[in-house]
Amino acid sequence: MTTGFNNPLGTGHLAMAFVCPQEYITRFNPDEGLCQGTIFPELVSPYPTYQLLLRTAAKEAQKE
């Protein structure tokens, strides 16, 4: 398919984003939402804690 886009790598596609429709079913109470960073339980995706990152970095350093 001709896209008119001159891909310097010669392969692959431009990125396309797909987002599933969200349905409002339930939400956290305001206090819980503030702690979780979202009021929607289905959107909770916590970052690893700083301590976990430190432990992982220490393990990597031991391997080297």
């Binding site: 969200q22 409002y24 939400r27 305001p30 206090d31 939402g33 503030l34 979202t38 009021i39 929607f40």
Partner: protein, 90 residues
């Protein structure tokens, strides 16, 4: 205890209600016909307005202009400021 809600507790409550209101606001931007979400938004907004009014009545204005009446004195310059809150919840 004087029977009034603690200042910091009220500030945390306002933060929590504001966060819920803005998250519902974002959802409603893409789902404007979701009547359940809209009803929840209205309920949270009313609770937020009520809590802010209570805070201002007890502890002074939350904003320096436009939203709060000045009263008999210029309470805005009286400490503590609305953003002075402990990092840990009481």
């Amino acid at each position: 205890m004087n029977g009034f809600p603690d200042r910091e507790q009220l500030l945390w409550r306002i933060q929590a209600l504001s966060f819920t209101a803005v998250d519902l606001n974002l959802y409603l931007d893409t789902h404007p016909w979701d009547t359940r979400a809209l009803a929840d938004y209205n309920q949270i907004s009313a609770a937020l307005a009520q809590t802010r009014a209570l805070y201002e009545q007890l502890y002074g204005p939350m904003l320096n202009f436009g939203m709060s009446c000045g009263g008999d004195s210029w309470r805005w310059v009286e400490e503590p400021w609305p953003w002075q809150i402990s990092t840990r919840r009481a």
